[in-house]
């Protein structure tokens, strides 16, 4: 099987993260690994570094993983999670500056075609550039 870049969706709300992942799967099928997480360590609204690390590992691909986030704390916690990965993983994970739903769908579509980590990230981040 050809490896594709993995997608991680991180929202303050588990429902939003799951809904976004559902949309991605419906639109691009199951060929791209998609993982999601949402909620703080107590299950309330927020994000959790350990859940983000788990999601990265669940979506892991040798081609790398892109992370889509919603608001401030999700971004900061995702960056922290990336730093806490093993050094050989760390350089293959990027947090995209892109809207979470549109970014996840565009990234997954690009990833499904076998694109590189940089290409997948660029397509998602074009959404913010306009």
């Amino acid at each position: 099987m050809n490896e594709t870049v993995g997608i991680v969706i991180v929202s303050h709300s588990k429902d939003i993260a799951k809904g976004t992942a559902d949309m991605v799967r419906q639109m691009v099928g199951s060929e791209v690994k998609v993982a999601f997480c949402g909620g703080n360590p107590d299950g309330g609204l927020g994000t959790s570094v350990s859940l983000i690390i788990d999601a990265i590992n669940n979506a892991w691909s040798p081609k790398g993983v892109v992370i889509l986030v919603d608001l401030g704390g999700a971004e900061t916690n995702s960056e922290m999670a990336v730093e806490m990965l093993q050094p050989e993983q760390r350089n293959l994970v990027v947090v995209c500056n892109a809207p979470i739903v549109e970014g996840a769908v565009m990234a997954a579509t690009e990833a499904a075609g076998g694109s590189s980590l940089d290409e997948v990230r660029a397509v998602a981040e074009e959404l913010s550039a306009g």
């Binding site: 703080n40 927020g46 350990s50 704390g73 900061t76 916690n77 922290m80 806490m84």
Partner: protein
């Protein structure tokens, strides 16, 4: 390293308990200009720190600070987790590199504040915890050797919190509010002040 385990434990315990006690106030401040979770997040993080107090007290100071930082990162659940976590982990890293307290206080604090600034991609004047941490760093430099240093730090921190009121937030959740963030104390600045006061009070009582 010249900080005794009992001093370390009492400082950490006091700081954690003070932040936990202030959780309702921090939440109220955050409801005004953020998403209202700062108090609950800090409480969860520092309760986890209290749960590891014996282990933290048994570690050398650099490792203890790193443990506190990692614990906050893994349990806070908001942006303040990585920000406070980075502060303590960077301070621990600085101490691991042949620095010691209290002699190298300015350098260790500077490294920690610089790491928070880098993590949040934020500078002074943006209505954040840095608007307390930077002025305190300046006081540590200016008042080094002053027997009343702890009191100077407390005064600086309290005044710095007040100065966040007219600031307009450009970082964090409060940035969405734009001009509407003006007129409120920044919750992160306030929690930094609470922590600093607790540390100073405890050190003073043990002198």
């Amino acid at each position: 390293m010249s900080v005794q385990p009992e001093t370390l434990k009492s400082v950490v315990k006091a700081a954690a308990e003070q932040v936990i006690a202030c959780a309702p106030e921090l939440t109220a401040l955050d409801q005004a200009i953020g998403d209202g979770d700062h108090g609950a997040n800090m409480k969860r993080g520092f309760e986890a720190v209290l749960g590891k107090l014996d282990a933290i007290g048994a570690q050398p100071l650099d490792e203890a600070l790193k443990t506190i930082g990692k614990t906050l990162v893994m349990t806070v659940g908001g942006a303040s987790g990585p920000l406070y976590g980075t502060f303590f982990m960077a301070a621990g890293d600085a101490l691991s590199q042949s620095r010691s307290l209290p002699e190298d206080m300015v350098e260790v604090f500077a490294r920690a504040v610089g790491a928070v600034s880098a993590r949040g991609r934020s500078q002074a004047g943006e209505k954040t915890m840095l608007d307390v941490l930077f002025p305190v760093l300046e006081t540590l430099k200016a008042e080094a050797g002053n027997p009343a240093l702890l009191d100077c730090v407390r005064v600086t921190a309290s005044e710095a919190v007040k100065r966040t009121v007219p600031m307009q937030a450009t970082k964090g959740r409060a940035a969405f509010l734009g001009a509407r963030s003006v007129g409120h104390v920044d919750p992160g600045a306030r929690s930094s002040c609470v922590l600093l006061h607790a540390v100073c009070n405890t050190l003073e009582a043990r002198q």
